[in-house]
Symmetry: C2
């Protein structure tokens, strides 16, 4: 309906705005300008105004943005104003780290099931959830109305998990395994690949002898 065609870059900045706005609210700041936001987030103020203007007129000329109001708006845009159940596959270190991250809770993203196909891990308790075998994935996804899946298994198994998610009717996937996964085009997939971030970091380190 009101989806003109928003670029991915814009959508990815919204959570960043949201996070900082929440911080402002916690500090009882009532109003914020694109200037302020830009300074704190290292972004151009015009860009911030433009990003927000894609979705409506949220600010007031001469004044700025009402913090609480803007939070509400961004949450609605990102569909964080409703509960969104999440399944996680891979109860290793990273999986545990994520499930303990209760930060999502206040944004209504909730990990409600954890799966692993390593027998020794099945039945273990992670963050109050019993690790389930992969054989229960499809039924659990359906019963618990899970719409988002997180993959934290080793690279070699990631495609299989993605396939299982797809078969179970998952609508969006966040993949932490260092592989590019193929999924049906109706499924949204984001690659959260920090090995890429880390490996690209060294490029920017100065040589001993050289100056750039």
């Amino acid at each position: 309906m009101k989806t003109p065609k928003i670029s991915e870059a814009v959508v990815r900045r919204l959570p960043v705005y949201l996070r900082f706005l929440n911080e402002l609210k916690a500090n009882e700041v009532l109003t914020v300008s694109s200037q302020d936001l830009g300074q704190k987030l290292d972004l151009n103020p015009a860009q911030i105004r433009k990003d927000l203007a894609h979705f409506g007129e949220f600010g007031r000329k001469g004044i700025g943005y009402d913090v609480s109001y803007l939070i509400e708006k961004i949450r609605a845009i990102l569909k964080l104003d409703r509960v969104m159940n999440v399944a996680l596959v891979g109860a290793g270190n990273l999986g545990r780290a994520l499930s303990n991250y209760n930060a999502y809770l206040k944004d209504n993203m909730k990990i409600v099931a954890i799966f692993d196909n390593v027998p020794s891990k099945v039945g273990e308790t992670v963050n109050n959830l019993q690790v389930q075998p992969m054989s229960e994935l499809a039924s659990t996804v359906k019963n618990r109305e899970i719409r988002i899946g997180i993959i934290t298994v080793p690279a070699a198994e990631a495609q299989n998990v993605a396939d299982s998610f797809a078969a179970a009717g998952i609508e969006a996937i966040l993949n932490f395994a260092p592989v590019i996964l193929k999924v049906p085009s109706h499924i949204r997939i984001h690659h959260a690949d920090f090995t890429t971030d880390l490996l690209s970091l060294a490029y920017y380190i100065e040589e001993e002898e050289e100056h750039e």
Copy 2:
């Protein structure tokens, strides 16, 4: 010397190429075309050729790229052909997950020290390393010639850690805490913020009633 000015987007794709090339090599594939690469990695072949051409002529017309040769070249570009010591601060779940990730080892990125300022964690062993108190950061960074720092502490403490890294002479930082950190301009910082990825995911999920 041979630094014309490469865009960040290009540098971030290099580790992706590298990873897949390593996979090809493991499967004893000798040669690969930009066509093949593009298909596997969901990228435009012209883009891949252009990315690589920034750094030299690595391919052969009519044939493609020699897998082993290209691996060597990319590793050299990313400075992964030498050992790069890494310090990690924050021995929580995520910190542990990262230090167990031995994937870096073959790329010569090595976590050689782990720090935390929570007393109960100091002295614990994580992946064969004893967790050290923050008070030892500066001296350890110097003695062990650590050049890269990873931050896996809660958001509220991340800026402090970044400041300590800066004071200790760290040259690049990978930050997992969900905050934008301010560091001196000579320090390279990457934000590996998966909460952003996760929160932006819901945006793309279809409404029940709507079609896009």
